[in-house]
């Protein structure tokens, strides 16, 4: 865990503000992640990865998230694609792609959201049709994290049998990438909008069974995404707490340190408690993932929901405690404040996740509540 913290402090933190300002991931950070073998953190050793157990993966995401959500998000989307390919890909796909992904020599991003499709993922409108030994992919994708940097996109498009996952190289003819200009958060994550006009790829680029692109392939990827985002939120919240405690211990007003004021101490106390609460839920999710319990899915949903809810208020308190300093471009709490709202939207909005948790709670309580749960 110390290695994760040291890496975050020495390699990522000095570049975080610059990435946020430039709207791009720093290539030296991408290389450094690869040199640490963390691009293969979610790939089995059989395919060249150096897999981290869930709790360690969480710790890595926490430390990265503490200093830079853009860097943590690169790891998230790259490994989302990796776990989906490892779980549902053919042997050839796994053998061909996963080793290069593990080395970091091929970066993969996940392309699901569209101009007209967000939470209702099954309604994807991008199309995938078969033509001989190839498939043709057309459509628009939005808000693709690390899209500008990726070598491959795992795209969810609609085939004859329904939503289907397909791997598309970003240098394919007919594919164009546009930078997302000044998003609210994750500015340093090389976000891209993608247009695909008759992009032709071999038919064996389809990942998983046609029609299972959302129910199984994307679901596997999103479950992993939620886990890493949740831990990233713990890191963000902890970063806000540490910065706020440092600030309160150094800044004086009216002749006294801010930290001597009751309101400041009370706020720090609540922030510290929130960080613990978020981490405990993430640790529970990690424990269940380690034991491969089916309950891991819903507890990972809960972890992401809870951590994203917590980081928004902790970041807001951090900015408030810092005063105008917390509003300065380049300050870590300013960046976490903007990024925190994005955490409540990606990998399942807070609204959607709360519905899922509520339905689960109803069904687990009493059978009679099942009819209430199904009412829309």
């Amino acid at each position: 865990m110390d290695d994760f913290r040291t890496f975050a402090d020495e390699v990522v933190a000095p570049r975080a503000a610059g990435m946020d300002l430039a709207g791009r991931l720093d290539e030296s950070v991408v290389r450094a992640l690869a040199e640490q073998q963390w691009m293969g953190a979610c790939i089995t050793s059989e395919h060249g990865g150096t897999p981290l157990p869930p709790l360690q993966l969480g710790a890595l995401c926490e430390e990265l998230g503490r200093v830079c959500s853009a860097t943590r998000s690169l790891l998230t989307v790259h490994s989302m694609a990796a776990v989906a390919i490892e779980r549902w890909g053919t042997r050839d796909q796994r053998d061909r792609l996963l080793p290069t992904m593990a080395r970091g020599s091929a970066i993969t991003a996940f392309a699901l959201t569209e101009p007209g499709v967000g939470s209702d993922a099954s309604a994807v409108e991008s199309t995938l049709r078969t033509e001989g030994a190839d498939v043709i992919v057309s459509g628009s994708k939005r808000w693709v994290t690390a899209g500008l940097r990726a070598d491959w996109l795992l795209v969810i498009a609609r085939a004859e049998k329904g939503p289907t996952a397909v791997l598309v190289p970003t240098d394919a003819r007919g594919l164009s990438l546009t930078p997302v200009e000044l998003p609210l958060g994750l500015r340093g994550a090389s976000l891209a909008h993608v247009e695909m006009e008759g992009v032709r790829v071999p038919a064996d680029s389809v990942v998983g069974k046609p029609g299972a692109g959302v129910s199984h392939v994307a679901s596997t990827a999103l479950d992993h995404g939620r886990f890493t985002v949740a831990w990233g939120c713990v890191g963000m919240a902890r970063g806000c707490l540490e910065a706020s405690a440092d600030h309160a211990g150094q800044r004086s007003q009216y002749g006294e340190l801010l930290g001597s004021r009751q309101l400041v101490r009370s706020t720090l106390g609540m922030m510290a408690t929130d960080v613990c609460l978020a981490r405990h839920q993430c640790e529970e999710a990690a424990r269940l993932r380690t034991s491969k319990s089916p309950a891991a899915l819903i507890e990972t949903v809960r972890a992401k929901y809870a951590a994203a809810r917590i980081v928004e208020r902790v970041a807001a308190d951090a900015v408030q405690l810092h005063g105008s300093a917390g509003c300065a471009s380049g300050h870590v709490v300013e960046r976490h404040y903007r990024d925190a709202k994005v955490m409540q939207i990606i990998e399942g909005t807070q609204g959607l996740l709360s519905l899922t948790l509520g339905e689960h709670a109803l069904r687990r309580s009493r059978p009679a509540n099942a009819s209430a749960a199904s009412a829309q």
């Binding site: 549902w88 053919t90 998983g208 069974k209 299972a212 129910s215 199984h216 679901s219 596997t220 479950d223 491969k292 319990s293 089916p294 891991a296 899915l297 819903i298 949903v301 899922t356 339905e359 689960h360 109803l362 069904r363 687990r364 009493r366 059978p367 509540n369 099942a370 749960a373 199904s374």
Partner: protein, 82 residues
């Protein structure tokens, strides 16, 4: 039905009944048509059969039919157990 098959069906019945929140779920009821399954349900079901019975769900196994009722899930598990 052998005792082993009955045991598999019983365990599947317990899991699915709890998952859809219905004590009296019929073995032939199409659970996807009950409208009570969540968006996570497809993967929950995969993870359950894999962890409970030590089988691996492959790509070719992803067929709505295999997972649509207690009877079909039990039959699917039996076919994987050989």
């Amino acid at each position: 039905m052998t005792s082993s098959e009955m045991a598999v069906r019983s365990r599947v019945r317990d899991f699915l009944s709890e998952a859809v929140g219905q004590d009296t779920l019929d073995d032939e009821t199409d659970i996807f048509e009950t409208g009570v399954v969540t968006s996570l349900f497809a993967m929950e079901l995969v993870l359950y059969v894999e962890s409970a019975f030590g089988i691996t769900v492959e790509n070719d196994d992803i067929d709505l039919e295999n997972f649509s009722s207690i009877q079909n899930v039990a039959n699917f598990v039996e076919s994987k157990l050989g």
